[in-house]
Amino acid sequence: MKWIVALALMFLPLSLSAQAVPKLVPDVSQRQINIQSGFTGAELLLFGAIIYPRGVAPEGQIDVAVVLRGPARPITLREKQQIAGIWINADSSDFRSVPVYYAIASSRPLRNIVDSKTAAIYELGLDKLQLSPSGEVDAKEQRRFSNGLVDLKQRNGLFRQEAGSVEITDQVLYRARLKIPSSVPVGTYVAETLLIRNGRVIVADDNVEVRVRKTGFEQLITVLAQDYSLFYGAMAVLVSLLLGWFAGYIFQRI
């Protein structure tokens, strides 16, 4: 019997600590983002609550980071160089998994709340994204291309990193707004929330999905152009002919 008690005593702190992990209840303001004719971008509110075991918040500061990430795609990145006075695409590198959209917001600057290793594991921050470069072996070149890609996507508004934009109320409620530009690609996006304390991620939740899709007329046009291209082309020609002819007819009467 003695050894059972000893064993139980040994595992007690472990089971206690397992219980002591807080739970995240995340949500977003919109589960679906509809792209339609007046679409100029959107703002997504990511919010939620942290449920602590026995309802007691731990000592010390907690931090929250939220990530919204679009589906990953393989791409070729081309680089222009000046050759004989003209800027032309001279070099290129392939990346196998570039998220079409990636935004991260945190309650404080990321480097202050997580160590570099944790950030790399959870892909926290634009410099920690695993873009899976291929083809290029030279590490320095690879760095240059990745930096170029991140910089380009950042200026297009498709990659974002905002420190201090997650508000935490009473260590329990958190909220953050993420901007989505009008050029956002369609797909299923994943919203991830991470609770961070003492440089470590205590708990992470990535069960919230946001669907970005074209609706109505915009979707119809896209589907026609992609899957019924012969019909779409004929329709474009016809619309153009009719508009041109009709305008000519109208102006003759004036």
């Binding site: 791409i75 070729t76 695409n89 291209s229 779409y232 305008a247």
Partner: protein, 304 residues
């Protein structure tokens, strides 16, 4: 007023697009050119992806030229036989253009080639036009009568085998010459989104030696059919025709064209041509500078 372009995948100001179409339409009404050579670069400056710009501009040119074709047909200003040969050449041209487009896109050089083609083409045509119109303006100023334009086809054209009679054009030449001309403009239409009127009209006048009364009508006839073919070709290959963009451009351009046509009646043709030459040269200059300047974006993303 913001409007989302479903193929270009971004939202633009509809008013800017309509005004842009209107300005280009006014020029096309004044000068009788399609205006694609202005639409495509302006759309690219505005931030539309180059492929979508070229594809949608060619759709717009279809609409912009249709009422002109009807007007010229009524006046008997279309040589249908010549037009048919040009169109056949143009069809092959768009197919060849589509193949070239695909190869260049795979190589990542499509943008550079489009830019260089624009500079070379607009620069040379604009230069020729400026020289010719400046000459005639100066001659008129000096009170000298204008030298009558020579109407003879180029010796190279005369040396081609197998001659046909083109009654309305008043020509007895080999159909190969207009076939090649149509082919070349077809490639241009596919790559650059231009109708090609500003290449075809001088080529018809000075290379083929066609009668001036059928030149503009026949060129419009060819443009109408070849831009239709190029819209179809783009729809099938690049899938870059944005019908929303084309419609907004058209709303502007058909209105502008009517205003331009009325303005043109009050202006002297020589000055008009000089003005067009200046605009063409300006666009060429801007594009040439663009090639040498450090571009805003060093990197470009292409989906695999």
């Amino acid at each position: 007023m913001d409007i989302y372009l479903p193929i270009a995948n971004l939202s633009v100001n509809a008013l800017v697009i309509i005004l842009l179409g209107g300005a280009v339409g006014m020029l096309s009404g004044m000068f009788g050119v399609g205006g694609g050579f202005l639409t495509t670069p302006l759309l690219i400056f505005y931030g539309i992806p180059p492929t979508v710009a070229a594809a949608s501009a060619s759709t717009q040119v279809t609409g912009a030229s249709v009422s002109g074709v009807f007007a010229h047909m009524k006046r008997g200003g279309v040589d249908f036989q010549m037009g048919a040969v040009l169109v056949v050449g143009g069809m092959f041209g768009t197919a060849a253009g589509a193949a070239i487009f695909e190869i260049l896109e795979a190589l990542g050089q499509i943008d550079t080639v489009i830019n260089i083609l624009y500079v070379v083409m607009l620069g040379s045509i604009g230069g020729l036009m400026a020289k010719e119109s400046l000459g005639s303006v100066l001659a008129v100023r000096a009170g000298k009568p204008r030298p009558a334009a020579k109407r003879r086809h180029h010796p190279l054209v005369a040396s081609l085998p197998m001659r046909w009679r083109f009654y309305r054009s008043g020509l007895y030449i080999s159909p190969l010459a207009p076939l090649i001309l149509g082919f070349v403009t077809g490639i241009m239409t596919m790559l650059l989104g231009v109708g090609g009127g500003f290449i075809m009209v001088p080529a018809m006048l000075y290379l083929l030696g066609m009668g001036a009364q059928v030149v503009v009508g026949t060129s419009l006839f060819q443009i109408l059919f070849v831009t239709m073919a190029s819209t179809m070709m783009h729809s099938l290959t690049t899938k870059a025709v944005d019908i929303v963009l084309a419609v907004f451009l058209l709303i502007g351009s058909v209105t502008g064209a009517q205003i331009g046509a009325r303005l043109a009646q009050r202006m002297r043709p020589d000055y008009l041509r000089l003005l067009l030459a200046a605009i063409v040269l300006l666009v060429a200059l801007r594009m040439a500078l663009g090639l040498g300047w450090r571009p805003d974006e060093i990197y470009t993303v292409q989906a695999l």
